[in-house]
Amino acid sequence: MAKPSATWEGAKMVSLLDIIGPVMVGPSSSHTAGACRLGLLARGLIGGTPQTGLLQLHGSFARTGEGHGTDKALVGGLLGFRPDDERLRDALHIAEREGLDYKFEKTTIADASHPNTVRITIELNGNKATMLGSSLGAGRILVQEIDGYPVEVTGNLHTIVLVAEDRKGSIARITGILAEHDINIATLRLSRKERGGDAFMVIECDEEPDKKAGEELRALDWVRWTRRLPKVSGG
């Protein structure tokens, strides 16, 4: 259900294909399609199907999630199923077969959280990630936190998130590495809390950044933390 009004920041609906779409497994664009995309994004953080997953549901996700298949959609996303994949219906059984040990918890995350919010903690061979994200309606999502760092990621494009020491020339170095890997930057947002404090970067790319590009960014000694997230929505 629930498409956002056009005034929602970052969720502007101007495309015909947003209105006539998405193609999805029912019953709810916010509780099912959006939940699936959140699972897909989280999977991207660790680069494969996790061995363990803790899914903490907040608000309407906790209250009506089971009837809307939110649990199946989240786990299906972790398994790599897209919102129009009919295997979502059987995702909980498939997870057992594929060795994904999932656990759901109902919780209250924060007063300000959007009603459809989940915190996902997953691990694959010691590689661990946590992600806090919300389903805004119409299948649109917003990730607000990764590994404790505040971010804003929509999943409409391939995305790199990065925390670096605030120093001159850092953007030039980063964009240089991406250019060397033939990756075009669509948008770049930079923010910091104070002068000389850590800089947060969200870089949306037209091409998928490969593992090597991610490693080169991580190897920069002034980069504290970085993650790559896959494109999970949009045409």
Partner: protein
């Protein structure tokens, strides 16, 4: 995309285009994509819509809670009833079919939302069949529907949580009425009146699903919403006009939605969801879902 249907109607008349072609050209410009690519995406949406209708007509689909299912087949088989053998009843059947597929976690096109996903496919494919309209024109109609939906999203809302059911099945009915009016030969101005004549009939409709699930009354609201859309199409094609301009009708839908108590906006706190039977069924059925999942 356009922010007012009046502007789109004016431009279409000036450029001697259908609203569909205006919408496709505008989308191509906005998104930097060729028209052929947008048409291909809409054709795929149409194929999924037809697939959902076909699947829903078999009658053996039930939602996880068991609250809805099997009714599309019942309607199709009933030989009695005043609408038997008419396209009208075929359309009501199709609307139920898509929503039963949706409730059973089948594949549908959210148009504009999953909760209102039955109306647009029912009206367009039902009328296309009755009048032998080629697919190319049905794809055009989907573009017109998208234009109308974009204006509603811009001026009001397409979310039951924000604006009640008038923003979901009401908007879907308006989109379907406008799109079908053009598909059957109506002018851009008649499209505007079809949307207004339809949406005036759904103003104030609350979103009150049992247990917060997209099942009851959502499935049936797609059939009744389709009936209202058919009334709008019939009147607009007869040359009937609605005195309040369509953009003002859309604005007032948004205003009513904002004023609507939160109980009536998808929270299951009011309306049918809060009736004694509604509460009891939701409690029993939610328990059943938990049990069936182990």
């Amino acid at each position: 995309m356009y922010k007012a249907l009046a502007d789109a109607i004016r431009d279409a008349e000036k450029e001697k285009k259908t609203l569909a072609h205006l919408a496709l050209d505008t989308e191509a410009r906005d998104q930097g994509r060729p028209v052929a690519e947008i048409r291909a995406a809409l054709q795929r949406a149409l194929d999924v819509m037809r697939g959902a209708i076909e699947k829903g007509l078999t009658g053996d689909l039930y939602s996880a809670s068991g609250l809805v299912g099997g009714d599309a087949a019942k309607l199709r088989k009933n030989p009695n009833g005043p609408l038997a053998q008419t396209p009208f009843r075929d359309i009501l059947t199709r609307a139920l079919a898509v929503q039963e597929v949706n409730a059973a976690m089948g594949v549908i096109v959210a148009a504009p939302t999953a909760g209102g996903a039955g109306i647009l496919p029912a009206i367009l494919t039902g009328l296309a069949k009755a009048r032998s309209v080629p697919d190319e024109k049905v794809v055009d109609a989907l573009a017109t529907a998208g234009l109308i939906g974009a204006v509603v999203a811009e001026r009001a809302s397409l979310s039951g949580a924000e604006g009640g059911c008038q923003a979901e099945t009401g908007a879907a009915a308006g989109m379907a009425a406008g799109a079908a009016t053009e598909m059957l030969g109506g002018s851009p101005s008649q499209v505007g009146h079809a949307v207004a004549l339809t949406m005036q009939g759904t103003l104030g409709l609350v979103c009150d699903p049992l247990g917060g699930l997209v099942e009851l009354p959502c499935v049936f609201r797609n059939a009744t919403g389709s009936a209202i859309a058919l009334a709008g199409i019939e009147m607009a094609l007869a040359g009937i006009t609605f005195a309040i301009p369509v953009d003002e009708v859309i604005d007032v839908m948004g205003e009513i939605g904002r004023e609507m108590d939160v109980r009536y906006r998808e929270t299951a706190g009011g309306g049918l969801a809060a009736t004694p039977t509604g509460r009891r069924l939701a409690k029993e059925r939610l328990y059943q879902i938990k049990r069936s999942d182990g």
